[in-house]
């Protein structure tokens, strides 16, 4: 995206997330009192503009999936506000959220677990229409056939069951199901990580085409940086419930600022056809992810950071802009 388009996009904010927190209580003792909190999402703010794809990357335990579920109100946030098209939806009752679900849909990772195996493809794809609209049976069928063809499924397969399809086809069913009620925002939680590479490419291409044709906005959650880079316009990197860096993809991949992002990028095995196996400098992130129940004080990444200094254990770095308006990083090296 060019800067001009991005400026324009800023006036077209679709989703605004303000200081969202999601803490899961941990109960203990005979009285099952809350003894601690698992801070899955810990004070996150960002915006998503109409028509863009925001990628969210992080390792397991970073809180990226919880964040997706909180935005859709599948989980209630502990604190913070969520504005969708300007409407605050974080405190609405589930019944009041339902109309917003027309515009916000989700595609899950596991196309085996997320499709009811007792429903035919037609029933699965038409279900959102049944819940959200008053369309007649004939209209529902017509819409279902249209969307099936759109995502590359054969309309003749309407009456088959999910187990009769391959993983890639099943993910197409999930996508059809999410798109049939014309949502504005689709949150995709690891949509291709269960698929083989050749099938993954088919699904990624399909998602890009659908975005152009239906002017969709995506939040694309994944652990695979190369996949995220391929599909996203901007990328947020999460670590232990916090965003540590957020930037347009080009800036993030060419000029990663946060030591975690740098390490993450260096960890990806790349297909390298030259004979310089030994030459490529490797920045290795050592150790394991700390427990989100008892995260480190100050900067969450300091226990694994190669550039850690005194200030990191005392003061928590905030997301700031050392570079320009669009590139934010939470690290004391830049303040």
């Amino acid at each position: 995206m060019t800067r001009l388009v991005q400026k324009k996009a800023k006036e077209n904010t679709l989703l605004d997330v303000h200081h969202i927190k999601k803490y899961f209580p941990i109960k203990g003792g005979i009285l099952k009192r809350t003894v601690a909190h698992l801070k899955a999402v810990d004070d996150i703010s960002f915006s998503v503009y109409k028509g863009e794809t925001l990628g969210i990357v992080g390792e397991s335990g970073s809180g990226k999936s919880t964040l997706g579920r909180v935005i859709l109100r599948l989980l209630d946030p502990t604190e913070g506000e969520i504005y969708f098209n300007g409407d605050e939806i974080s405190k609405l009752k589930q019944r009041q959220v339902r109309p917003y679900r027309r515009d916000m849909q989700m595609v899950f990772q596991d196309p085996f677990g997320s499709l009811n195996s007792k429903m035919s493809v037609a029933e699965l794809i038409e279900e959102p229409l049944l819940v959200q609209t008053n369309l007649s049976k004939k209209d529902r069928k017509e819409k279902a056939v249209a969307i099936m063809e759109h995502v590359g499924l054969r309309a003749g397969d309407r009456l088959k069951y999910p187990h009769e399809f391959s993983g890639g086809q099943r993910q197409r069913i999930s996508i059809a199901r999410a798109l049939i009620i014309n949502p504005q925002l689709v949150i995709c939680d690891e949509p291709v990580s269960a698929l083989d590479v050749s099938i993954q490419a088919q699904v990624l291409n399909l998602m890009k085409d659908l975005q152009d044709e239906l002017s969709l906005t995506y939040i694309f959650i994944a652990h695979d940086l190369s996949v995220v880079k391929h599909i996203s316009d901007r990328i947020a990197v999460m670590y232990l419930g916090r965003i540590v860096e957020i930037a347009p993809k080009k800036a993030l991949y060419e000029n990663a600022l946060h030591p975690y992002t740098q390490g993450l990028l260096a960890s990806i095995p790349i297909i390298d056809i030259e004979d310089n196996k030994q030459e490529r400098e490797k920045i290795r992130i050592t150790g394991d992810l700390p427990s989100p129940v008892n995260p480190p004080t100050g900067c969450p990444f300091r226990t694994r950071c190669p550039l850690v200094h005194d200030r990191c254990s005392v003061e928590r770095p905030e997301l700031k802009r050392p570079e320009n308006d669009e590139h934010l990083v939470a690290c004391h090296l830049y303040t």
């Binding site: 390792e59 050749s198 088919q202 391929h230 390490g263 990806i268 056809i273």
Partner: protein, 328 residues
């Protein structure tokens, strides 16, 4: 002079008898060798037969599967027909294997220490006390700093990366000549994956092992393998030195795989794709197994399955497009 191979697999066929009418030809005539100290990678998508190949070598195929044909030599010894007692001795001592999900490979009711001690007592006939000291040493060797504590912990108390380190400690405990790693890092995060792969290379050099790496990830392969074997539909479709295979890819399937990977360096709008899906192992086409999905398919490909053509000293490819280049 070429060293004689450590492992040589010849025309291996492992079939699964699903029911009266269906036989899944999971591995269907696979041949390859692994030289001492070499890292060979078998790459393929799910259903290509790469894991079954590994399990066949270890004689870990369970009913309804069966190794129906072929020979497997370790040094010069035929091991595909060894009785189970001798095979048990061989597993661990000569060949060790690590798996994708260490949580299922480790026994959840025994401590990590117990499980390593058991290996050492059984295979290296150590005393209990001595074995425990050795277990702690092994855990230190694989980079576990809290080895004295970890030795008394249960698998569920460890993170995925630590578990895989413990598995590697067990695998190297009897100093095997060959380590088979079946998707060893697929369940791990990318930063941990890098740690584990580096550790495997370090151990390989330290203990002078050969490594048979089974994976779907071409990125991993390109950084760590000396030679690459690409499998599709239970057969080898291309084999070459790693750099050569990635530089001058010849088989349309391998090309398709490489093009379908999102690239970190360049930006492309659309990824290359391979149309369709992998044919099921019980219903393979009679001609080339890639026929339905191949952009270069010819009439001939529909009729008969091409043999492997040797296009130079270390590059073979199963494709009629290279029939004329065969030097054999």
């Amino acid at each position: 002079m070429k060293k004689p191979p450590l492992l040589s697999v010849n025309q291996l066929k492992t079939h699964f008898y699903l029911d009266k009418n269906r036989v899944a030809k999971a591995v269907d005539g696979v041949s390859f060798t692994v030289s001492p100290g070499e890292t060979v990678a078998i790459v393929g998508e799910s259903g290509s037969g790469k894991s079954i190949t590994a399990l066949s070598i270890m004689q870990l195929i369970e009913k309804p599967g069966k190794v129906v044909e072929g020979s497997i030599h370790l040094h010069d010894k035929e091991i595909s027909n060894l009785p189970s007692k001798q095979m048990t001795k061989l597993r661990g001592n000569e060949i060790a294997m690590i798996f994708q999900e260490p949580m299922t490979a480790l026994n959840p009711v025994f401590t990590i220490g117990n499980q390593i001690v058991e290996m050492l007592r059984k295979h290296r006939k150590m005393e209990k006390k001595q074995a425990k000291i050795e277990a702690i040493n092994l855990l230190k060797t694989v980079g576990i700093s809290r080895a004295e504590e970890v030795v008394n912990e249960y698998p569920h108390q460890l993170s995925g990366g630590m578990r895989q380190r413990a598995m590697i400690a067990m695998a190297i405990s009897c100093n095997p000549k060959l380590l088979i790693a079946d998707e060893p890092t697929t369940a791990l995060d990318v930063t941990i994956q890098a740690q584990i792969l580096d550790l495997m290379v370090e151990m390989k050099e330290k203990f002078n092992m050969a490594l048979l790496l089974i994976t779907h990830d071409l990125g991993v392969v390109s950084e760590y393998a000396d030679r690459i074997i690409v499998m599709y539909g239970g057969q080898v479709v291309e084999e070459a030195k790693a750099k050569e295979l990635l530089r001058t890819t010849e088989h349309p399937y391998t090309k398709g795989l490489l093009e379908s990977l999102p690239n970190l360096k360049e930006d492309v709008d659309r990824l290359g794709t391979i149309k369709g899906t992998v044919p099921p192992a019980y219903d393979l086409p009679s001609g080339c197994r890639f026929y339905d999905r191949c952009p270069f398919a010819m009439e001939k490909c529909k009729q008969t399955n091409p043999p492997l053509y040797q296009i130079n000293d270390n590059h073979t490819v199963r494709c009629y497009l290279h029939e004329k280049e065969d030097i054999k």
